[in-house]
């Protein structure tokens, strides 16, 4: 107790000293969580552009395999064959980098790094993270990891190309594919730094949520955003170290010639001496991280949606506690379903059925959450801000992509669908689109708090409709292509049964065109974002009439967030449209004694 008080005072002092920080300390090596959040956001946006551009390139190959890209050769010259087509090995490199970038650099670091950093102290009433110093390191490790990954794209032999899951033996043997040379080494080094960054971040997030809540902010008064972020961080602490183990053993196999993942391999006319290893071990280690990782990607978005939907429906969130327990349930279950990615790895069918059952159980808390979002919207006094539209879009994607998860979760069905475009459709809808929509929603909603200005609403609407319709047009047809049996990660389908490839060609063309339009529409967002930072309409203190604490800070909160004392929390975050109340929202720091007209009998006990 005593020590924590000291800590608290120390932070207050530091902020009251009012010394001007140098440019470098303020904007570059900053320890302020708000600045670090923006650094993560900008870096994430940078990666999203690259990841998106890559996907468009390989979509061209899938939709227009005969097109001549020579005109692009000033930019991607050495990626093309003499005929102006994308080189087959480059194709593999592009899909690998696309997956790595989107899953890790955008939807993990970009999303968590931005919103967990930004909102945890602001919504909990803390002056900053538990350790601003480690937090700064977290960003700079991510930066280092980014630089290495970016470098790997330009090295001799190209970047890693064994898929974002980098399964050995493909990724372990440089002879296997040119991307398994230096590119793969850099991938592993980069990802190791990435894990360090993710862990430093997560340590801080958990510690801050547990220890630095303001007076009155009990666990069950925390906004659902914070609950989602807390579970995300816990998943990270428990799963990312396992990726480190997997990478470590792979590094050993590659550099020292150990046999953790290798056995009985005959390649390019040569029998390798490695004995006793198992490539399946890697799959277990990878997916033990990998499955929680997909929830690390989606949970922050679900948290953001809870907040935005409640605020913009002007209604209390439906089933607050059910939401919390669902989050916890999803968190726990996400550690016991990983082998559903490995149904065809030769596992015992009995084991397969165990994982099937566990996987299907995870649909229960997921469905509860979807139901509660819809129930919150139901008969709400809905205000369609761009953030709200994106959150509703998220719910739509979470449901339509979750349904196909149920198909895939059945080992019997998955044996047919595994590694086809059906899986690609599933996770691009439930993870890619849903999580991106949460990210957009968060940016539109908290932009005023981040930059003190508003984004342009109408551009937001245009951006939403293009992206929402576009994402469905891109990803929905992939289900059919997958059910027809097209495997993922193939450069071309020329060897398919005659007639089959042609009959799906038009669908592939359609998808590629839709992808191009959707990608192009993102520039509307980019313009709106950067323009509004400098020229947007000035924001008011609480533009969405929201209850949470971040809106009690000044429009441009300084170091330490609140100029005076930290507000005390008196109630939960969802007193919207409370019967009898003067306004349709009562911020968390308003005591019950000031609202006798709307108090419920049970409120009097607080």
């Amino acid at each position: 107790m005593k020590e924590t008080k000291l800590y608290e005072e120390k932070v207050v002092d530091a902020h009251e000293e009012h010394h001007e920080q140098s440019f470098i300390r303020k904007y570059i090596f900053s320890e302020d969580h708000k600045t670090i959040a923006k650094q993560f956001l900008i870096t994430g946006i940078f990666w999203a552009i690259i990841g998106g551009a890559f996907s468009f390139l390989f979509r061209i190959q899938l939709g227009f395999p005969n097109v001549d890209l020579t005109s692009l050769s000033p930019i991607i010259g050495n990626w093309l064959t003499p005929q102006g087509k994308i080189d087959p090995e480059v194709y593999l490199a592009l899909i690998t980098m696309h997956g790595t970038i989107m899953v890790f650099f955008v939807l993990t670091a970009g999303l968590s790094g931005t919103f967990l950093n930004f909102l945890i102290p602001l919504q909990l009433g803390a002056r900053d993270m538990a350790s601003g110093f480690l937090n700064m390191f977290s960003y700079w490790f991510f930066f280092l990891s980014s630089v290495i990954m970016l470098t790997s794209i330009f090295v001799e032999g190209g970047p890693a190309s064994g898929g974002w899951t980098v399964y050995p033996p493909l990724s372990a043997l440089p002879q296997a594919v040119s991307g398994s040379g230096l590119g793969m080494t850099l991938w592993l080094v980069s990802m190791s730094f990435f894990v360090v960054s993710a862990l430093l971040g997560a340590l801080n997030y958990i510690t801050t949520v547990i220890n630095l809540r303001t007076e009155g902010m009990t666990f069950f008064r925390m906004p659902l955003t914070i609950w989602a972020f807390l579970i995300t961080a816990i998943l990270g602490v428990l799963s990312f170290p396992v990726l480190l183990s997997a990478a470590l053993l792979l590094i050993m196999d590659r550099t020292f010639g150990t046999s953790f993942y290798l056995s009985d391999i005959y390649i390019a006319g040569e029998a390798l001496s490695n004995q006793g290893g198992s490539a399946i071990l890697f799959q277990h280690l990878f997916w033990f991280l990998g499955h929680p990782e997909v929830y690390i990607v989606i949970l922050p978005s679900l948290g953001i949606a809870s907040e935005v939907i409640a605020t913009c429906s002007r209604k209390p969130i439906f089933g607050y506690k059910a939401m919390v327990y669902s989050l916890i349930g999803i968190g726990i279950l996400s550690f016991v379903v990983w082998a559903h990615h490995m149904f065809i790895s030769g596992m015992n069918p009995f084991l397969g059925s165990v994982f099937t059952i566990l996987t299907l159980i995870i649909a229960v808390p997921s469905a509860i959450k979807s139901f509660n979002y819809i129930a919150t919207l139901w008969r709400g006094n809905i205000i369609f801000t761009p953030a709200m539209l994106f959150s509703i879009g998220l719910v739509s994607f979470f449901i339509s992509g979750g349904v196909t998860g149920l198909f895939l979760g059945n080992s019997v069905i998955d044996i047919n669908l595994h590694d086809t475009y059906f899986v690609v459709a599933h996770f691009h809808i439930v993870m890619g689109s849903a999580s991106f929509f949460g990210l957009f929603s968060g940016v539109y909603h908290w932009f005023p708090k981040m930059f003190g200005r508003m984004m342009n609403r109408n551009l937001g609407y245009v951006h939403f409709w293009f992206t929402f319709i576009g994402a469905y047009l891109v990803f929905f047809p992939l289900h059919y292509i997958g059910i027809a049996g097209f495997p993922r990660r193939y450069y071309s389908f020329t060897n398919f049964e005659a007639g089959k490839i042609e009959s799906f060609m038009d669908l592939n063309v359609f998808v590629t065109i839709a992808a191009g339009i959707t990608f192009a529409a993102q520039f509307i967002f980019l313009f709106n974002f950067f323009y509004s930072i400098y020229r947007g309409r000035k924001a008011s203190q609480n533009p969405w009439k929201s209850n949470t604490l971040e809106w009690t800070t000044p429009v441009n909160p300084g170091h330490g967030n609140w100029p005076g004392k930290i507000p005390k929390v008196e109630r939960w975050a969802y007193d919207y449209s409370k019967p009898g109340a003067k306004e349709d929202f009562i911020p968390q720091n308003v005591p019950y004694s000031k609202t006798p007209e709307s108090n419920l009998p049970e409120d009097e006990h607080h």
């Binding site: 538990a130 428990l238 183990s245 020292f256 010639g257 004995q275 071990l281 280690l285 033990f288």
Partner: protein, 189 residues
């Protein structure tokens, strides 16, 4: 304790809490490696390794150094600065010798024909002890930091956070090795 602190929702010093979560994440590295090892040992075609005698010695030394570390903590609590420094040094030397003996253990293994490059049943022993050793080095650095602070009289009964953090971490590393040693022992008989 006044009212203000009483109603604040603070449980623990944030830095000490950070150390605990850090230890949990390190544990996950070892949980994953050990389970990989156990599965591997269950497969046919492997072999058992007779653990080098040195690993028995090093286990003893690391436990001893943990005892010293605890004594250093008690000294700090009693503001006994002289013994604080001595015990810190002793635990540091204990840790250093542990690393050296682990190295001798590796030499033993090689002499016995168990190589890092070869069947994973052998490689895993190097990986487990090696990854542990790397973490132990970080613990040693931490002790050094504490030592520097203690020279400056910044560690005393009113300021125990730092030494508490490093002591907890050091015990954790000791425990980790003992656990690894017992696991290796039982899976190789």
């Amino acid at each position: 304790m006044n009212n203000k602190t009483k109603s604040r929702i603070l449980r623990m010093n944030p830095n000490i809490f950070l150390v605990w979560i850090f230890m949990i994440s390190i544990s996950m590295i070892f949980v994953s490696l050990v389970s990989a090892y156990i599965v591997k040992k269950g497969e046919p075609g492997g072999f058992n390794v007779e653990l080098p005698l040195m690993f028995y010695y090093s286990s003893f030394i690391v436990v001893l150094s943990s005892v010293f570390k605890q004594l250093a903590y008690y000294s700090a609590k009693k503001d006994n600065f002289k013994s604080l420094k001595i015990y810190l040094l002793l635990s540091f030397i204990g840790g250093l010798s542990f690393l050296f003996i682990q190295y001798l253990g590796w030499v033993n293994l090689v002499d016995g024909g168990v190589y890092f490059v070869g069947h994973p049943d052998g490689s895993f022993i190097y990986i487990l002890s090696g990854v542990h050793a790397i973490h132990l080095i970080s613990g040693l650095i931490f002790i050094l930091v504490v030592y520097v602070f203690s020279i400056k009289f910044k560690i005393h009964s009113k300021n125990l956070n730092l030494i508490e953090m490093s002591t907890t971490y050091w015990h954790f590393l000791t425990f980790l090795w003992v656990y690894l040693f017992i696991t290796l022992y039982f899976y190789n008989i």
